[in-house]
């Protein structure tokens, strides 16, 4: 088995949004739809202040609540590598998955609007054909790239190597070693979804600054 996932080193993230732009470019996502986002927080008291950046995306959980919530099996887990996928041809747009997902990873594609006025640009015209209005979309780790042996576009674009992608079921993989040799955490592990994205130093940063 393969368990694709990420280790995100928060100490390295500079909030440049290169991952967001790469994702939008790779997947031609419409306005207001972010398969990946970088959240931020200002921490500390002057002069000891810093900004914490938190890249988020679909966590490709081992127990994905979205898959359980979906009434039509439009959301499913790809058995060979545990990637949570969307089949737009089955999605009815009930948004139960949006409610069930604790990680703000799912977006409804509501209308065919482009970034530049009423008309779509030729790039948007071609790119948006892969999206169906009235259905849900989300990060799929750029499954086409993975199947070709490439990293997801966001990982390739990250200039500080904040995003590390690999197979957690392979003990020799880069991500397994990173996870093993560092203190890592999942987002809200008590919710029981068992995400495949691990964060390094998510809490220590806050503690250091506050201290």
């Amino acid at each position: 088995m393969t368990r694709w996932g990420m280790v995100i080193d928060l100490k390295r993230c500079i909030g440049c949004w290169a991952c967001i732009v790469a994702c939008k470019s790779e997947n031609s996502t419409p306005p207001n739809i972010f398969w990946t986002k970088v959240l931020e927080r200002e921490e500390g008291t002057y002069p000891d202040v810093r900004r914490l950046f938190l890249p988020i995306r679909c966590n490709h959980c081992l127990n994905p609540p979205c898959v359980e919530a979906c009434p039509t099996n439009a959301t499913y887990v790809r058995k060979e590598d545990n990637i949570v996928m969307m089949n737009s041809n089955k999605c009815i747009g009930c948004q139960a998955c949006v409610i069930a997902c604790p990680y703000d990873a799912r977006y409804m594609y509501k209308d065919k609007k482009g970034y530049f006025g009423k008309e779509l640009t030729p790039f948007e015209e071609v790119g948006y054909k892969q999206h169906e209005i009235g259905t849900i979309q989300k990060c799929n780790f750029n499954v086409d790239r993975i199947d070709k042996g490439l990293n997801p576009a966001c990982v390739e674009a990250c200039p500080t190597k904040t995003l590390n992608f690999g197979d957690f079921d392979d003990p020799e993989s880069h991500v397994s070693k990173l996870k093993k040799t560092n203190e890592s955490t999942q987002l809200r592990p008590e919710l029981g979804a068992d995400p495949s994205i691990f964060y390094l130093d998510a809490y220590r940063e806050t503690a250091e600054v506050d201290g």
Binding site: R41, A69, K90, I92, I133
Partner: protein, 308 residues
């Protein structure tokens, strides 16, 4: 900084709006009406013609609830794939709800048929009829519970994630179903019918109002010391942008006003004039409005758990 990109920002759910609130309200009210109508018919509190109209209205409300859900589904081709909705009964509450309501409507429709074709072997008083009636009550109860379980099952929104929410929803479903009956009685039997059934209906409504008030209090109280997102939900409910529908709609119009009127009716202090009957019907309307607004408020203040 754009609030959407702030770690500290509370994320409000916007996926399920007033239409889902209306769908959940109709689901509960239709289940409640069907259940209460059958029970009161068994004990001969209401007449056969009232029970039949109640059954038709219950079926109509259930159908309307499905239509409202349909309008909420994704635009374009997406919503026309609604028949796939039965594919994940093992896990999805939307699937289970669709299955429950389909079976409930089928059974209830079957139960009405002997009124049209008298030779059918499952009419009132037969063994098959009793089994059918039991099955209908079971599925009506399941439909009432579903309207709460579909929200409470997920841990993503702490304000919803409690067994008390389905309890409140079942209670309100009974309340709204029972409040719809006097309106049906006055349509079928007139004011005289209301007077003859009042000795059972008003105390029943009074008990249901009190139980629901207590259940609602227990729900809000239990969540006031829960996750920070649940506390924010309560703040918005009682002091924030939902305070008017909550205090005026759910509490004042939906509980306190009907409580006073129904208490007076239970103690025979309201008289039996036409005006008194209309006041009582208005109280029933208030209960039903409160039932909808409760779902609306609960959905509106749904806030996701924070990331860190």
């Amino acid at each position: 900084m754009n609030q959407e990109f702030s770690i500290d920002n509370f994320r409000e759910q916007t996926a399920w709006d007033w239409r889902i609130a209306f769908y959940l309200f109709l689901s509960g009210a239709s289940g409640g009406l069907i259940f209460v109508e059958i029970v009161l018919r068994i004990f001969d509190v209401i007449g056969n013609s009232t029970a039949i109209l109640g059954a038709w209205i219950g079926l109509g409300l259930a159908t309307l609830s499905l239509f409202v859900l349909f309008t909420h589904l994704g635009a374009g081709r997406a919503r026309w794939r609604a028949f796939y909705v039965f594919l994940n009964i093992r896990h999805s509450w939307i699937s289970r709800g669709a299955t429950i309501v389909t079976i409930l409507m089928g059974l209830r429709f079957m139960f009405i048929l002997p009124e049209i074709w008298h030779d059918l072997p499952w009419g009132e008083g037969t063994l098959a009829g009793s089994f059918l009636r039991g099955a209908i009550m079971l599925f009506a109860l399941a439909f009432m519970a579903y309207s709460g379980l579909v929200l409470s099952w997920w841990k993503s929104i702490p304000f919803w994630n409690t067994f008390l929410l389905p309890v409140v929803c079942i209670g309100y479903s009974f309340l709204c179903g029972a409040a719809a009956l006097p309106i049906i009685i006055i349509i079928v039997e007139g004011i005289d019918g209301l007077e003859s059934t009042g000795s059972v209906l008003w105390p029943l409504l009074l008990v249901l109002i009190i139980i629901n008030g207590l259940a609602l209090f227990a729900y809000i109280k239990s969540k006031s010391s829960d996750d920070i997102a649940a506390q924010e939900s309560i703040r918005r409910l009682t002091q924030g942008n939902s305070k008017r529908p909550w205090w005026i709609g759910v509490i004042l119009i939906g509980l306190i006003v009907p409580l006073i009127i129904v208490s007076l009716a239970s103690l025979n202090l309201i008289g039996s004039s036409d005006f008194a009957s209309y006041v009582l019907i208005t109280a029933c309307g208030c209960i039903i409005l409160g039932g909808y607004l409760l779902r609306y408020c609960v959905l509106r203040v749904g806030i996701y758990a924070k990331f860190i």
